[in-house]
């Protein structure tokens, strides 16, 4: 009962005009970044991170939720109409979505994709409410040793975050922690790795590093490969109505995709993308007409499109309940919260109920907004693909300059961003993924401070730090989460080979 009152309270916050405006802007920006190949929600969030300083914390969360959900919608549009996945999570939609377009059912595929995303958004937000509340209540019993366990859990699971090899992920995690350790040690006041440069005593900010590694590096990569722009046939409004049979065949995959997506969203890694593959395989396995998959089966659009949206909500659970981002996009969300001096974690629901429930309600509103926005405006959004990269690139880089400079008015931050951008580009070329680095930078302080506090409190007794019941449970859960994707992969492979 209390939860539903909180939800109503959340809606009263989310429906404030300013938050609706943030949600709308986020949805539009997200849809555009989802449509344009190369930028993606992560790049958009990195570039716009500094601008969230001019919003309140709830507004920033609403804005980012809009971007993330919008990107999932936008990515599916180009997958279906042009066979160009704007987003990794939309790759699988190309298979049957584009076939449907070739068969003259592209409009219906877009509608099923949009409705599926909305259904998934609704179901998964309910899951997010329940899971976060339960996990948050349990986490109230946490002390420094439990946070050490959470830190270990986060760092170990980070290895799973990138698609790259194990060794490269480990290097990036240690690099992230090395970058974090620059600056003053807040427990003793000792300066670390500052090399006598005064500016470095405050440490290296998350924002210029994130913007450089994701935003600038992505722009350099785009310039390197010279993206082509595309164009699509216009979709008439009446073509967007699915037939009764298409609706009947789509609804079960939407529900299954929602559950699959939400559960996979709880696991570290590129959850939206993995969820689409698992959903597609599941639907093909369950279908009475598996031979239609690859030829324009509507289930091949409904399931994966629902799953990727649900995975977005699932990814919010560990961040909001434990304060640990399991995906790079969640690291950006965490970055936005930290800019507002808010540290998410077990106490968030109690300490900032307005923020927590407002964000939950806003997610729902963002999903609804995307449903009513994207279908009528699909032709307009597809036209964005015609924007030449030669003009987009300087604009985005200029926005990055403005964003980073506006936070501390420091040219040093700009220099750090530029260096990180160049390093990020080189990392991309040699297959080093920046995501673990950026998340390790965020988890590092929590881990170090909790470990040192635990050692101080326990008088150096390692048993008291690592062997408490809750800590042991967290380590056990870590092992389970670590091996689950491996098992899922094996199961998927066995389905494929069959």
């Amino acid at each position: 009962m209390e939860m539903w009152q909180s939800v109503v309270h959340g809606f009263s916050i989310a429906l404030q005009p300013i938050n609706i405006l943030y949600a709308f802007t986020g949805c539009v920006v997200g849809t555009i970044t989802g449509i344009l190949p190369g930028i993606g929600p992560l790049g958009a969030m990195a570039i716009l991170l500094s601008f969230t300083l001019y919003m309140d914390a709830a507004g920033a969360m609403v804005f980012f939720a809009g971007i993330y959900f919008g990107a999932m919608y936008g990515g599916s549009t180009t997958s279906i109409l042009l066979n160009i996945p704007g987003e990794n999570a939309s790759i699988i939609t190309c298979i049957d979505g584009y076939k449907m377009t070739q068969n003259g059912r592209g409009g219906a595929a877009l509608t099923v994709s949009a409705v599926g995303s909305f259904v998934a958004g609704t179901i998964s937000i309910l899951g997010l409410m329940v899971a976060t509340s339960l996990l948050g209540s349990a986490a109230l019993k946490f002390g420094p040793p439990e946070f050490v366990a959470i830190g270990v859990c986060g760092l170990v699971l980070l290895i799973k975050l990138s698609d790259g090899p194990f060794l490269k992920s480990v290097i990036m995690i240690f690099l992230g922690m090395a970058i974090y350790s620059v600056g003053i040690d807040y427990l003793t006041g000792t300066l670390r790795f500052t090399m006598g440069i005064e500016v470095l005593s405050q440490g290296i900010d998350f924002l210029p590093v994130a913007l450089g590694l994701f935003g600038i590096a992505e722009m350099l990569e785009t310039a390197y490969v010279s993206e082509k722009t595309g164009s699509a046939r216009k979709v008439k409004f009446r073509e967007m109505l699915p037939t009764r049979n298409e609706w009947r065949r789509s609804l079960p995959p939407m529900c299954r995709g929602s559950v699959i997506g939400f559960l996979i969203g709880l696991i570290p890694g590129p959850a939206p993308m993995i969820s689409t593959f698992v959903s597609y395989i599941t639907e093909k396995k369950l279908s009475k007409h598996p031979e239609e998959f690859g030829q324009g089966a509507i289930e091949g659009v409904a399931g994966p499109e629902s799953a990727n949206n649900a995975a977005v909500s699932g990814a919010y659970v560990p961040l909001l309940a434990l304060g640990i981002p399991f995906t790079p996009a969640m690291a950006m969300v965490l970055g936005a919260l930290l800019l507002h001096n808010i540290t998410p974690g077990p106490n968030l629901i109690q300490e900032k109920p307005d923020l927590f429930w407002g964000v939950i309600a806003s997610m729902y509103i963002a999903n609804f907004m995307l449903l009513i926005l994207n279908l009528p405006m699909v032709n307009l959004f597809v036209n964005i693909l015609r924007t030449p990269m030669q003009i987009l690139l300087p604009i985005i880089i200029m926005l990055s300059f403005i964003g980073v400079y506006s936070v501390n008015s420091s040219p040093i931050d700009l220099l750090i961003m530029a260096l990180c951008g160049i390093i990020g580009f080189i990392f991309k070329r040699v297959g080093l993924q920046p995501a673990p680095l950026i998340i390790a930078m965020v988890i590092g302080p929590m881990f170090e401070n909790s470990l040192r506090q635990s050692l101080l409190i326990s008088g150096g007794n390692l048993g008291n730090v690592f062997l408490r019941p809750i800590s042991l449970t967290i380590y056990l859960v870590t092992v389970v989460i670590f091996v689950t994707p491996w098992i899922l992969k094996r199961v998927s492979n066995s389905f494929y080979t069959k």
Partner: protein, 154 residues
């Protein structure tokens, strides 16, 4: 080659980090010092980048297929412009520095030709200043030209 260079650079960074971390007090388990965490991180980095270096030097690196047409010189020029921007900003302030960099990028990317690019770059910079600095109150580097725009607003 790029793998080898990256591996060597990462290893050199690790050595420097370890040397820096070794100078910090380690403390004891009862009273951990500021060097406890960096030293563990340094050792982790040494092991992982050491293996990476060894792999890069001994194994034939899997070469990622280069996208066609790849344009390394464009990236080099853009990277140069991005690196120079903080310095330009320091001396020229927002409008001139940003205009110079955006114009340079448009020319490098061969957008519409020098004259059109000049007009577009100027327009972009003025609009962004009006929107962000004057409209939204974002703090940007201000000099005489920016002051004039502020005064025009009244």
């Amino acid at each position: 080659m790029k793998h080898k260079l990256t591996a060597v650079s990462l290893f050199c960074f690790t050595i420097l980090y370890l040397i820096g971390g070794w100078e910090l007090k380690l403390g004891t388990l009862r009273k951990p010092g500021p060097g406890l965490f960096p030293r563990r991180v340094g050792i982790g980095l040494l092991v992982s980048t050491g293996i990476y270096l060894w792999q890069a030097l001994t194994k034939e690196a899997e070469s990622k297929p280069t996208p066609e047409p790849a344009r390394p010189w464009i990236v080099a020029l853009l990277a140069g412009a991005i690196l120079v921007y903080p310095l330009l900003l320091y001396y020229l302030n927002f409008i001139l520095a940003t205009f110079a960099v955006v114009y340079f990028m448009l020319i490098v990317l061969r957008f519409k030709g020098p004259l059109w690019d000049l007009v577009i770059a100027l327009g972009l910079v003025i609009i962004s200043f009006l929107v962000f600095a004057i409209g939204l109150g974002v703090s940007l580097s201000v000099g005489p030209i920016e002051e004039i725009l502020f005064q025009l607003r009244g």
